[in-house]
Structure formats: structure tokens, C-alpha cells
Amino acid sequence: MTTGENFFDQFIHSVEGKNPLQTSGRWARFIGVVFIILSLITLLTFILLLVQEDKIAASLMEINRMSNETMLLVRGSGKWVFGLVIITAVSVMVLNAYWLIRFSFSSKNYILKGEEQELQNSFEFLNKYLRITVILGLLSVGVSVIAALFSMTL
């Protein structure tokens, strides 16, 4: 352990260290709960879309003047690709929410009990959340690069 890390040891046990960690935890819990609500709404919307498939297909055909072949494709593989995208998005949101809520509870427990194990857990969950943020960021970069290349060809 370096001198700086010894200082961190003092800092994290002080009010100056605990207060921002507590507030971060509270906001993380709120964000996690909102993520869970959003994923439930997304899932519910998808189920309702599936239930109302016939009506939506008829409207799409009327509004966009889609041909029967296109509509068959949309209702066949298109529906499952869309479903896969929705399920992946919902899973990522739920996973993010889970880690944020765990981070929140671990940091709260650390502040209440002062157990180092809880502090370790809170940073472990924060890292998991950050890791998935980085993966999503990389995906976003990929999509942006493809979009930029695509717009260059226009």
C-alpha cells in the first residue's frame, strides 16, 4: 500500500468520503428503479404490439402502401429481429439497473456498518456498471462510424 492509498484509507472512513458516496448511492438507486420501470414499459409495449399485430399490419399497409410481400417479411423474420433487439435492450437495462441498485445498497451498508467488505462490493458493482457503459459506448462508436461512412457515400 502506497502513502496515497494510506490517505485514501483515512479519507473513505471520514464524513468527507462517506457523504458523496451516500448521495451517489441514492441517485444510483433512483436511476436503477427508473431503468426497471422503463424496461417493463418497453416489454409491455412490445407484447401489446404483438397482440395488436393484425391491426398494426393493416394500418402500415394503408399508410405506407406496403406490398403484401413486404408485409409478409415484416410479419415474419422482421418481427423476430425486432423482438430480439427489444429483448437485448431490456436485458441490458435490467442488468444495469441491478448493478446500480446493488452499488446503492452496498454503499449504504458500508456507511451504516463501516464494513470494508461492503465498500469492496460497492466498487465491484460500480465497476460492472461502468464496464457495460464502456461496451455500450463502443457499440455507439461503431454505429456512428457506420452512419458517417454511409452519409459520405450519399
Binding site: 496515497g4 465497476n127 458517417a148 452519409s151
Partner: protein, 128 residues
């Protein structure tokens, strides 16, 4: 005294937060590039695109700034044993979550308003 495992987790958070912040900044750079290409190809409407870009980039920039400050301040604080830097690092982590939380409140409120308005317009247009 903190264990080596706890310190490792804290060092990992510094590493991943730095990476997340840099990626967010890189994404803003890419958005600028996309906007420029769009203007050159004249495929974008001028003002709506600028406003949309400005709002999304400002939000991403603020979030990236706080997570990068968390990473750099915690790193320096641990290296130099500077309590002030450690405090600033934790404050920036707090601000990072606060900004996301406030944004979520705002977005949820707007979504709720849009939903209420669409329900109201449905009843107004079809009173039966």
C-alpha cells in the same frame, strides 16, 4: 487498513471510468463529423440539426466531464495522497449520478406529459 482487493476494485473503477469518459468524448467528436458530412451533402435541415446536436452533445459532454474528473482526481489523489483530490473525485462521481438522475426525471416528466396530451387529444377529437 483497506485490503488489497478493495484497493484493486477502486483502481479498476478509475480505469473503467476513464475509458467511459474518453469514449463519450470520442462519440461527441464523431457526432460533429456526422453533422459536417450532413451539411456538406446538404442532407440535414440546418437549425433543427444544430439544436439537436447542441443539446445531445452538451448533455454527453457534462456526463463525460464528471466521470473523467472522477477518474483523474481519484488517480492523482491515490498517487499523491491528496485528500482534496480524493474529495473532488468522489464529488464528481456524485455529480455524474446526479446529472443522469435529473435528466431521467426530466425525460420521464416529458414522456408523461406527451402521454397525457395524446390521451386528451383523443377525447377532444372523438368525444363519443
Amino acid at each position: 487498513m483497506l485490503s488489497e482487493t478493495t484497493l484493486k476494485e477502486i483502481r479498476n473503477s478509475i480505469y473503467w471510468s476513464g475509458y467511459a469518459g474518453k469514449l463519450a468524448l470520442f462519440n461527441i467528436g464523431l457526432a460533429i463529423l456526422q453533422l459536417c458530412i450532413g451539411f456538406m451533402n446538404q442532407s440535414y435541415l440546418l437549425w433543427p440539426s444544430i439544436v439537436q446536436f447542441f443539446i445531445s452533445s452538451t448533455i454527453s459532454g457534462i456526463i463525460a466531464f464528471h466521470i473523467l474528473r472522477y477518474s483523474s482526481d481519484m488517480k492523482k489523489g491515490l498517487e499523491l495522497g491528496d485528500i482534496q483530490r480524493l474529495h473532488s473525485g468522489f464529488e464528481n462521481l456524485k455529480r455524474y449520478f446526479t446529472v443522469i438522475g435529473v435528466l431521467l426525471i426530466l425525460v420521464s416528466f416529458l414522456a408523461l406529459m406527451a402521454m397525457l396530451l395524446s390521451i386528451l387529444s383523443f377525447f377532444i377529437s372523438d368525444p363519443s
